[in-house]
């Protein structure tokens, strides 16, 4: 059972079109909501005239900030900074200033178009340089963070990590470079969608969230309701990748449902979804010291991460990613200085890899640069510096928990590192490491029914990673019953016990353990039951249940939990429970005339401890690799001078298609059963994209001799680099 490729739970419903996603839910008497936004990045709202809009046949309610409780409630996963609707000004292209609810979606659309907003476009902050300009407008009102000494700047937070003494460190070679990583968007194929309905003195919300319990908490606070009166139902998301982790328009639809006394639904367009979430862009400046043999002597990293108009969870992204900004290496002296900057752009949030692709872009490219200058092999320099198992590569924190060199060797072998290569081609290899979940709690209840089947209650979201399958495998293994007699129930705060969230590749470890423990709780009860009934030890579960529950029926209920408590004073709130380590190797062919890159072969290796379901791991890793190729080769959000997204929508924001795949792709794993999850597993599913950019860029360098430190590696960018090489 464990370690076998059980078919994806819910797969059948998905191939037959019967899987219900949010937009497929139809409640009777539903009102349709359409948002009103402005065509610029930053604007002062002078007046909103809803008269013409309210004349439209079928319009039931129009909300602007003036119609909301005052002061307008603000919310966010960390800071309560985002208002339900724009108050006084819009702070990013697409921020809603009003919402129309109508009997039909056509009426809602027509009315939304008729809402007249008089506004004055204001200068905005759209770049790192602009955010740091002392004369720049302030994105966040100082009054919203009165005690923060940074409140009169656009710096949300400054971080300083480090150890040793960088100033005193000796090095034979110092490599100093700047790297940029663009804004990119999640582009889940399911656009974001929200439904809310009044319910028994409270409200019920349907949202494809990765985090129903946080949504429940935030809505309860905004509406002044007890948790138990806010029910969040979270059907499996149609892709999430971090974009559906934190509430966005849930408070708005909840309020509209209560105001109108009717169910309401808001289906965002893909364009609106792009305007809602993105990955944090950044500029990283690094000085790295090396010994002549390639040993790293110090890292001195200064970076600026450009957040959007509201903090969302971006501060946490930056805190966690930069904690490991030196990568999985032994670095005697380190200094990491990071500024999280606010801007008048789409709020940046969690996105697969959680900041790791950004930091690895810099630390890996630095290693390649050093290898070239020192005449060392790019794989050797990594092996020389990689932390060894048990080594505290971040002093005082969770030590290296895997044989990371094994992953590197495996990837190098698969890409035939060192073998002769055709002209115009190049290979690259890069690694990355992500700190997994630190604190958190997951609870599970398992109900073993009298016929021997079981229902597993788990607050995890199955957004494509197949958590349903893996949790069912764990229960089947622990209870010794067939997997088809197990039903995993998820995503309903009124039915399943608390789970912190589905993120940080934590579910297999946290929820996996909680489920395993709940099953073991059942097994203990069964043993007791057998003893009480005087039955022999090897009686089957079903016989035992029949014997016990023959007349009045009943069931055995097991409870399990897995918690990792807050550690006061730890920069991350707690030590990572494990590290997600991954290695990517790529072979490319570059068309020097046009700058086009052809991926010949692409390999990922993930250290997963134990692959509970090898096929699911492979799907996740290859999927992550394809996503990584997106931000490496083609994806970037482009803004114009007034902060508008120039490539808004699927036509001009390009993601990989089948034709953009490498000619050959391989997803490999390393399994040493050395993780904290069930059966020695570790989290997986993000690794495949964490080191894509530096691996591919390194291959491009080998093929062409040019070094590129900006992403994506568009044909034009590669061509430009080749032009300057040839000057």
């Amino acid at each position: 059972m464990i370690g076998t490729s059980q078919p994806r739970a819910g797969g059948l419903a998905r191939v037959t079109g019967r899987q219900q996603f949010i937009a497929d839910i139809n409640l009777d008497h539903t009102l349709h909501v359409k948002l009103v936004h402005l065509d610029c990045g930053h604007a002062r709202i002078v007046a909103i005239d809803t008269a013409a809009a309210s004349e439209v046949y079928g319009v039931v309610a129009i909300l602007t900030a003036a119609d909301l409780p005052q002061p307008v409630p603000r919310f966010g996963p960390v800071h309560d900074d985002r208002p339900i609707l724009a108050v006084g000004e819009t702070k990013y292209h697409g921020q809603p200033v009003a919402a129309v609810a109508a009997e039909t979606k056509e009426a809602a659309e027509a009315a939304a178009e008729l809402v007249r907003v008089e506004y004055e476009a204001l200068p905005g902050v759209y770049t790192v340089a602009a955010a740091l300009d002392p004369d720049a407008p302030l994105v966040l009102e100082p009054g919203l963070r009165p005690d923060d000494p940074l409140r009169h700047s656009n710096v949300l937070r400054e971080l300083n990590y480090g150890w040793g003494d960088v100033e005193a460190a000796k090095a034979d070679l110092v490599v100093e470079n700047s790297y940029a990583f663009p804004m990119v968007t999640h582009f889940a194929i399911e656009p974001h969608a929200f439904i809310a309905a009044p319910d028994d003195g409270g409200v019920v919300i349907w949202t494809a969230t990765q985090n129903p319990f946080q949504t429940q908490r935030i809505i309860a606070r905004v509406l002044g309701l007890p948790l138990a009166r806010v029910r969040v139902i979270a059907p499996d998301p149609g892709g999430a990748f971090g974009g559906k982790q934190h509430p966005k328009y849930e408070p708005l639809v909840a309020l509209l449902a209560l105001r109108t006394g009717r169910p309401v639904r808001l289906l965002l367009t893909l364009e609106e979804t792009f305007q809602e979430v993105r990955r944090t862009s950044c500029e990283i400046h690094v000085r790295t010291g090396f010994q002549a043999d390639g040993t790293i002597s110090f890292q001195d990293i200064q970076s600026d991460f450009l957040l959007g108009a509201y903090a969302d969870v971006a501060e946490r992204v930056i805190t966690k990613a930069n904690y490991l900004a030196c990568g999985p290496y032994r670095v005697p002296d380190a200094r990491i200085t990071v500024r999280a900057l606010l801007s008048h752009t789409t709020p940046s949030t969690a996105f697969r890899g959680f900041g790791t692709p950004q930091v690895s872009w810099a630390h890996e490219s630095q290693l390649d640069d050093a290898a070239r200058r020192l005449g060392l092999d790019r794989v050797d320099i990594r092996l020389r510096n990689l932390a060894r198992k048990g080594e505290a590569f971040v002093p005082g924190d969770t030590p290296c928990d895997g044989d990371w060199a094994e992953s590197v060797r495996k990837a190098a072998g698969a890409i035939e590192w060192g073998s002769p290569i055709a002209a115009g081609r190049g290979r690259g290899l890069a690694v990355a490491i992500k700190a997994s979940a630190t604190t958190g709690a997951s609870y599970s209840i398992v109900r073993l029914h009298w016929d021997g089947s079981a229902t597993v209650l788990a607050g995890t979201s199955d957004m494509g990673q197949g958590a349903r399958t893996v949790l069912a495998q764990v229960a089947a293994h622990e209870l010794g019953i067939p997997i088809d007699s197990i039903k995993v129930v998820m995503g309903d705060t009124a039915a399943v016990p608390f789970d912190l969230q589905t993120s940080a590749s934590r579910s297999t470890v946290f929820m996996g353990q909680a489920v395993a423990r709940a099953c073991r709780d059942i097994n203990a009860q069964l043993r007791q039951m057998a003893a009480d009934l005087g039955l022999v030890a090897n009686v089957s579960v079903v016989e035992l249940l029949r014997a016990r529950f023959s007349e009045v029926r009943g069931e055995v209920i097991g409870v399990g939990s897995y918690r990792s408590e807050h550690q006061p004073g730890h920069p991350l709130g707690g030590s990572p429970s494990f590290y997600e380590f991954s290695c990517t190797a790529s072979e490319v062919e570059v068309d020097e005339g046009t700058g086009e890159i052809l991926l010949v072969r692409h390999v990922t290796v993930a250290d997963v401890g134990k692959a509970l379901n090898p096929q699911h791991v492979e799907m996740q890793d290859e999927g992550a690799a394809v996503m990584g190729l997106g931000h490496t080769l083609m994806e970037h959000i482009l803004l114009d001078d007034s902060g508008r997204i120039r490539n808004l929508g699927a036509l001009d924001y390009r993601i990989p298609t089948t034709k953009d795949l490498p000619l050959e792709m391989l997803a490999l794993v390393v399994e040493n059963a050395d993780g904290p999850g069930p059966y020695g597993s570790k989290g997986a599913g993000e690794g495949g994209l964490m080191a894509t950019a530096p691996a591919v860029a390194s291959a491009v360098t080998e093929a062409t001799g040019v070094v590129i430190r900006d992403l994506p590696l568009t044909p034009e960018r590669v061509w430009r680099a080749i032009q300057s090489r040839d000057l």
């Binding site: 078919p7 996603f21 889940a188 656009p191 492979e618 394809v626 036509l651 298609t657 792709m665």
Partner: protein
């Protein structure tokens, strides 16, 4: 403005209905007929999530007005399987692990079905070409293409 009467066959059943001209075929299928297996994403013809067969040819239902379906035959994902049982192509998607979040999958299956109807034994390159109008952000392309090749071998 007034509705237009049409007679359209959807998954084998002929229907006479009135539709507003400004309704896409996609909205008609999803909102009127409750055939929600056909998905909506980009609404621009770029993602393929809304793929259906029109007289046997794959089309983006978001780029078609429902009135254009008059006297035509539409097949949606719901029309592929009988009594919710998957056909061989759908089985191949399951067996090859092609299904992650599943949101793009109905469109992928319909595009694959069309591809195999035109070219029963495609090469990998032809499969990649034939499915290039269907985005999968979960990135399950390798498995999706393997599933199509497997179904082709099985002779679907």
């Amino acid at each position: 403005m007034s509705s237009t009467p049409i007679r359209v066959t959807v998954n084998g059943a002929e229907r006479e209905v009135e539709v507003a001209p400004n309704t896409t075929l996609l909205d008609f299928l999803r909102d009127r007929l409750q055939l929600t297996g056909t998905k909506e994403c980009c609404d621009l013809g770029e993602c393929g999530a809304c793929t259906v067969l029109l007289d046997g040819r794959a089309v983006n239902s978001c780029l078609m007005l429902a009135v254009e379906g008059d006297a035509r035959e539409v097949t949606t994902i719901e029309g592929l399987s009988e009594n919710g049982r998957p056909n061989a192509l759908q089985d191949a998607f399951l067996a090859k692990g092609a299904v992650q979040c599943g949101f793009c999958i109905p469109g992928q299956v319909m595009a694959a079905r069309y591809l195999l109807s035109r070219n029963p034994h495609p090469t990998l390159a032809e499969v990649r070409e034939g499915l290039s109008g269907n985005l999968c952000r979960c990135g399950g392309y390798v498995q999706i293409c393997e599933a199509v090749l497997a179904a082709s071998e099985a002779g679907t």
